[in-house]
């Protein structure tokens, strides 16, 4: 017994619920407001069998408004179809409700997104840095932050470029 939903059918049903839907390259993306996020994800899980959250991540468009786009990838284990939900967040107010109570897997994904972008997930059980050291300053994956490298400053240490360092 399969609950598979064809792409066209999936796009129509999602479009009926979320007016801002687009289909490109074989994928359906629904853009929702952050206030509708939890309801939308619950509806996706109950009506479309999209109950497996693959990943939560974000993209930074510093020239755009909204600046941050938080992206949720959903997958149906039985039905094999996928969908994406995107939420736009303004620069000044980068907060979004956490989906961890609904999808426990979002725990570390949201921590990573917070670590990289500084987006606050309200209701997250333990929103701390996960991949970077606990006392790191800044959110490196923002486009406004430099790539770093040889001139990185950490704990006051300055590491000179490799070709100016001599050990002899």
């Amino acid at each position: 017994m399969s609950v598979a939903i064809e792409l066209g059918d999936l796009a129509e049903r999602i479009h009926a619920r979320c007016p801002d839907t687009l289909v490109a390259r074989g994928e359906v993306t629904a853009i929702v407001d952050r206030d509708d996020l939890l309801d939308t994800l619950a509806w996706f899980r109950d009506e479309l069998d999209l109950g497996f959250l693959s990943s939560v991540t974000a993209t930074d468009r510093p020239d755009g408004d909204p600046r941050y786009w938080v992206v949720y990838e959903l997958r149906s284990i039985q039905g094999h179809h996928r969908a994406r939900v995107k939420v736009g967040l303004p620069d000044a107010d980068a907060r979004i409700p956490s989906v961890t109570p609904m999808f426990p897997t979002a725990d570390w994904h949201e921590r990573e997104t917070f670590d990289f972008y500084g987006i606050e997930f309200e209701g997250h059980p333990d929103l701390t840095r996960i991949l970077l050291p606990d006392d790191w300053e800044g959110h490196p994956l923002r486009k406004t932050e430099a790539l770093g490298g040889v001139n990185t400053r950490y704990h006051g240490a300055f590491i000179p470029p490799v070709d100016t360092r001599t050990t002899t």
Binding site: R25, S54, T59, I77, H80, F103, P104, P140, K143
Partner: protein, 422 residues
């Protein structure tokens, strides 16, 4: 030995002997944790009360780095994320970029991709068997696992030039065709390997110590696994038949004849049996690939705006640039030289858009969320690594069991910290 007089032990207010739990730190440098994983364990005697995994000790900034390099250079970064399955990283990334470009690799390239992916699955499972056995004390299994892996790495070196982190799968195809010596080595491997897997089963399947340490250990039910986003052999050991090669096939997987082993017990022993069975299935797929390679064909897409311009060839001293091609661009055609130069230094242009492509790596769903803004560099590359999600299930698997069982449970999880931390 004298008995400790119990009237001298510290007691709490109600007169009970005071017991405290002990907080112990395991790792990040530890011979038994898989790589640089740190576990904060609260122990009551030998029983784990709470377990908190702390990751990030191998954070490399791969995702940020790809935004500053060309699309083709992204492959070299992405291949080092989950370093035990480099071909899967490359395939996921290249498939995502190809979907953005709207092209498809030629059939022969797809067969080569599938073949090397399955060989990589075998080599990754061999490392899991070797290190898992080592962590549980079966040191001979470590040597056997690495012995078999050397054969596979030899095949990789013969065809791609490198033992690890190959940069072989490119956008639009693969960089080189497999040569005769490579095919011969693969056939010999397919003849020898089944006997070795039989050896492993003979040593381990009925071994009372192996069974004691793995049966009933690290149990993770299907509901828990799905809630934590766990995929791969962990999920299939709990009875859920989810494998992206069957569910959402890519690179022609729907045309191959293979099974996906699934078990019901959801413990470490079930995962061990599944991984051994997966190695056998992978060999079946490789044999089918070798048959399909009888027909010649191009290995890189024809489109000149996308195809990697250089032609490589195996020569006496190794893999190098094809002398014919060099002569063509250096002496015959100025336009070819300019075209080659532009494509290699500036890189290809990928149309705007975003795409999520998932492949079934040895550890589970390996996903690539790639965003392009129409330029020569990726705008955002997010690697959805299976071990990152799988490790979240560690407290559920481990709490309430003994410390030694915690090690066996994490070994059966097969985390690769390069993928977790990226």
């Amino acid at each position: 030995m004298q008995d400790i007089p119990t009237d001298r032990l510290p007691r709490d207010a109600s007169g009970q002997i005071r017991q405290e739990t002990m907080i112990i730190n395991m790792g990040p440098q530890h011979p038994s944790t898989h790589g640089v994983l740190r576990l904060l364990l609260e122990l009551d005697g030998e029983t784990v009360v709470t377990c908190k995994p702390i990751v990030g000790y191998l954070h490399t900034g791969i995702e940020k780095n790809t935004e500053y390099r060309t699309w083709a250079q992204g492959i070299t970064y992405v291949t080092r994320a989950d370093y035990l399955s480099p071909f899967f990283n490359e395939l996921g990334y290249c498939l995502a970029v190809e979907r953005l470009l709207g092209i498809e690799a030629p059939p022969r390239a797809q067969v080569l991709r599938v073949m090397f992916n399955e060989l990589n699955r075998i080599s990754s499972h061999l490392v899991w068997l070797a290190t898992g056995g080592l962590e549980l004390g079966a040191v001979s299994i470590m040597l056997y696992g690495f012995r078999e892996r050397e054969v596979v790495l030899d095949i990789f070196e013969e065809v791609t030039g490198l033992r690890m982190n190959h940069n072989y799968i490119r956008i639009g195809g693969v960089i080189m065709d497999v040569n005769e010596e490579g095919e011969r080595k693969i056939r010999r491997f397919l003849q020898e390997m089944p006997k070795r897997i039989d050896d492993y089963e003979t040593i381990l399947n009925d071994n009372p110590i192996w069974r004691e340490r793995n049966m009933g250990v690290g149990v993770l039910s299907a509901a828990d696994a799905l809630a934590f986003g766990v995929t791969g052999p962990m999920l299939r050991s709990a009875g859920v038949a989810a494998d992206l090669r069957k569910d959402a096939p890519y690179s022609g997987y729907e045309t191959y004849n293979f099974d996906v082993p699934v078990r019901q017990e959801a413990d470490a022993f079930a995962r061990y049996l599944i991984r051994l069975a997966e190695m056998r299935e992978s060999m079946k797929i490789v044999a089918q690939c070798l048959d399909r390679l009888e027909e010649p064909g191009p290995v890189m897409v024809e489109d000149p705006k996308v195809a990697w311009p250089a032609k490589l060839k195996v020569m006496d001293d190794g893999i190098g640039n094809d002398p014919e091609y060099l002569r063509h661009i250096m002496e015959e055609s100025m336009e070819s030289l300019i075209h080659h130069f532009k494509l290699v230094t500036q890189g290809i242009e990928v149309p705007e858009g975003e795409v999520y492509q998932a492949v079934e790596s040895p550890r589970g769903e390996l996903g690539f969320y790639v965003v392009s803004d129409g330029g020569h560099r990726p705008y955002r590359v997010k690697i959805r690594d299976p071990s990152f999600a799988n490790l979240q299930a560690t407290p559920t698997m481990v709490e309430g069991s003994l410390v030694a069982d915690a090690i066996a449970a994490i070994a059966s999880l097969d985390p690769v910290m390069g993928g977790v931390d990226r």
